[in-house]
Symmetry: D3
Subunit: 251 residues, 6 copies
């Protein structure tokens, strides 16, 4: 199922679908960690905006210019818009309140319903967990009326924050995940293509296989082809069980 | 908002609403732990069936006959049907495979979508956690084709198992809850009435206040009037974020 | 039970009652999180000193001047003294060693027996957990003889550090709390009045109800009217069970 | 500091000191796990009663008759009374409701303030954790008015249940312990003598050294000579910090 | 890499290689959960003995006779011997001390160095976790000299107990696993063939794919082709880092 | 068993023994936390290099010059080389990416197989856990090709990172330790001598007794004289059980 053209979200998103906002520390983190989810949402007509906090300049492979181009191609394949912001640079991210305020400004501009960020597990690339902390804090700061730097945009409360895991090790124990079904052929193809767009990172590595294998394993749990686990920051509020989906327990 | 007449589920449940099946160790456990959820589902047109595994014969207050009558009245107020089954008796429940098989038989007969059971926290009335274990096991056994005692009914896979907590202490750490909104006046009135129907248990105790206080606290978290936490046994499987409700974080 | 006059601690505290020192990130955190405990201790004749690390300048409601006045009134109602110190400002607090050293200086001046600080749970206002970390570190630094900035005061070892939770979500799992009984009418009235003194924060919010509901729930667990949970940083050392109080398990 | 004579509790215990009741699965478990605590309480004038649920008949060393005699001598050295009850026998204990009811009967007879039981950690002698579960359940059943076998004694609510750990591995993570100071020479001598009274179990083993080493390590944490950790089943309820002891953090 | 002939362990195992003893609740549990590990050990010259506690008589697919034959073929493919013992039957296993004693007898006869058992996670087939508990207890009872039923064999202390996980969900959080490399073509082929020998269980299911996918994911973590996680019951004791292998962190 | 002369590693280390690299926040942390392990490895012919990140200038006892001399003598007694690096100074360490990069440079120079760092438990001297975080991050950064400051040395992947605990409280729950046997008289004597070399820290304190008591307790668990627990950052990868050592469970 080759996919060479970017996904096209439906021109007029239904008004009830507030945008999806996804933060990544490096080009490729979003695609590898939750690209299938982004593809699924844009295909369903929801706008998605990706925000990257470095150009991967500390990586072994790929120049910042190459990484930027790969990220742009991948975002297009997922049907999402893309933006780079400057924090401390790749492999240099620190948990500073100025960064959280900057990210809160992004949230106020984008006014998302759902926000995705890297999981808070520490034992991964140090930028990942730190960005997760900053985004969590930013979703709070975006609600507070008195932060001077944020006054140009109205305060905004998001609907929910979910964490994605870039690898199996980054899946947090102690949070019950929700599994997002990404089995539809068009979604799976878009996700695979977006991962493969990071050509510099896939040289001599098997990241794409890693992610598809992980999604296949979660998919088998869920009784579907492939699934991606997301980890809610707060309890879900439901009006009734009609919203509850079903439980994953096939084996 | 007094409520003196039982709730009336809509006569023809929509076919997509598989029944709700709720297990309790004693008369009043279901009402105190998750009665508002039952009321909400029956009001939304879903059939609900309650199964009690004792008549409270070890309690300080109330005879088995009184407890039975109270449970029947409470079930009617919630719009649910009620059944008693015999296991080991109040304060005597043990984790035996014969019990799990018996409960699996109930599941095969009722063919529920959602099952509710007491949480697995040990430090509460010992019957509660043990019944939770038995129900969890029963939901598996109901799927297996070779259990001799179960052969008269076809195998059945439920949609999801959630645990309810009879008290704050019984809310399990380590499982992210979902919060069910029970704020609608009719739901809250039906729940309160069903709890108050357990007259023998409320003499000189403040169980009703305990539960409404707990639900108010969870409601404030969720940004609604009152909410009841339920704890999923397995990850929820979602097709998209349109099903994800929103997160509870008001403070 | 209205309370309009500040509590008056007994003029000469018994010498065995070392002062209570309480840290808050914002005006109102102490009152909402553990104000009843402060009221109980001052009423029992123990001196209490509150230290606030911002004037709430990032909040949606209330100017810094208003917040300062509210905090002063609340402290007086609790029978405590109050001090503001400058760290990074509201919504800007970072975990810096210079801050911990500054807080250690406060500890050396106040020479408390018991210290209270916000809990270390991350998923709350980011200043809360960070202040908790800084206070924990400060209680250690206060003991070390070689920190240049601290040499003007003699080293001091506190008796115990407890964490308070500003909301239910901030109550840490994994630490067994102690429940402080705040049911005495005078204590409850002083606490309520101190919370209500934060007029700017209570406009259109129900923080006072939130806290009284939470304390009522913990009180019912403990078999008393209202109780506030505190979370010890280190095991309690007891000479015998005569000191052990009793356990909370009413339901 | 040799101790050859049993401790003598003061003849008339103060009425406010409700008895201490301690359960052990085998002769020597109580002495090795918390003998110093028992010695400290009897020395302070509190009555202590030990209940053993086997005579160690599955052990490699020592006949049941020898074990019985050793336990009697050890109890006398600790200043406690001793009773044997029959459950399933050594290495055969199961979690049965009939056992919990039998133990609840013991509690109703003894009417203790504090109850001690082996910790619930599973990875130790299987009888230990199971007895802990049974005692926890028994402390609840002792309160319930309707259990037929218990009707000859009035219902009884204990003050608090603590768990003791027979080894370091049996100390539960996730419960903040209280550390009981057992450093007084007379207490330490009585404890050591009571452990050494189990002559058959100390042949070729170093159990006494193991326990004294463990207590020394906890004592150093607590800033005293030796201390024994106990793990509360429920939060402690305190009227004020005057009861809070102090925290253990010497290093 | 097809494998049609059973693996042949070297005829004379080196004396330092004490046998491997593996317990399974049903035919196929061992093969699916840790078959590659068994194949690796027999190939390295260690004797392996498999013990099954039911013939799968509650399963949807396959008669007991078919299951028995499949298990015998699979054991032969792994180079292991096989034995069936009677406990309570499939889907009926209970935690009884008589079962633990029976398993301890098996351990005394086999005198293994390493023992493997299903993990203690509860949320899987109920027989799995219960067998894990029974085996853990049995490894203790095998050491005790006074258990009457065990007196015909000398007491035996095993070297180490590891748990295997039949599915991803059965991998316990809170235990750091060791990852066993099963990438060698002969090992992988033997494992795959042994799983496929359970023809009745693979009809219309994808268990073999599930396990190979899981092992591939763990293998990528470990920097090898495929790996199987095992969970130690107790800390490993090492003489020096020369034994420590290396850590798994490729991504 | 007095030891007055430094241990002499064998002159030509076997090529398969990559060096051991150990980080400490203060002079004496390494010796108290894992000195016996260092002594065991150098005695087995492995090179060991110690890196200290302060000269203990905030301590109550000992000048920086004295502390430096003590550390040099201790390193010699352990048979290790020693280096000081400058970060923020004693009691001032912060988690900064520049520090992690500096430590990564040390790793690239030393090219170790095994790295040891203080455990990540927060409730200890604040420098300890922060250094642990920095070392963990540094072991990742050492692998990345694009960090400008590191380009003078080739990238390096370590074999495994283990954490050591300076006190019992610093032993992390939730990681299964490995226990290193340090019972050989020469090792124990070298370790003791190295701890005693920190004369300024042992005045009026009992750190040496604390550590030997802790190691004796772990040793009794492991069935040896003394043992030191280390906590792996990542799962161990084993080729077969021949590498698995044995499990610690003596009691």
């Amino acid at each position: 199922m080759p996919l060479t053209e970017p996904m096209k979200p439906t021109p007029n998103s239904p008004p009830e679908l507030a945008p999806l906002l996804v933060f990544g520390a490096h080009p490729d983190d979003i695609e590898f960690g939750c690209g299938g989810v982004v593809a699924g949402e844009t295909r369903a007509g929801r706008a998605a905006h990706l925000v990257l906090c470095s150009r991967g300049e500390a990586a072994t492979q790929g120049t910042p210019a190459e990484r930027t181009a790969e990220a742009q191609q991948a975002a297009a394949l997922l049907g999402a818009t893309l933006e780079f912001i400057e924090l401390d640079g790749d492999a240099r991210l620190e948990v500073r309140s100025a960064h959280a305020i900057k990210l809160a400004g992004v949230i106020r501009r984008a006014r998302p319903g759902i926000v995705l960020a890297p999981s808070l597990v520490d034992n991964q690339h140090p930028d990942h967990g730190r960005l997760g902390q900053l985004v969590r804090d930013a979703t709070r700061l975006a609600r507070y009326g008195g932060v001077a730097e944020l006054r140009e945009w109205p305060a905004h409360s998001i609907g929910q924050l979910f964490y994605y895991a870039v690898t199996l090790e980054a899946e947090p124990a102690g949070i019950t995940p929700v599994l997002l079904d990404v089995s539809a052929p068009e979604i799976l193809a878009a996700w695979t293509a977006a991962m493969e767009a990071h050509v510099s990172q896939n040289r001599g590595r098997n990241y794409v296989e890693l992610q598809l294998t992980r999604a296949r394993l979660h998919g088998m749990r869920a009784g579907v082809g492939h699934a991606i686990p997301l980890f809610p920051n707060d309890p879900l509020v439901l009006g009734s069980f009609a919203q509850a989906g079903r439980g994953a327990r096939r084996f």
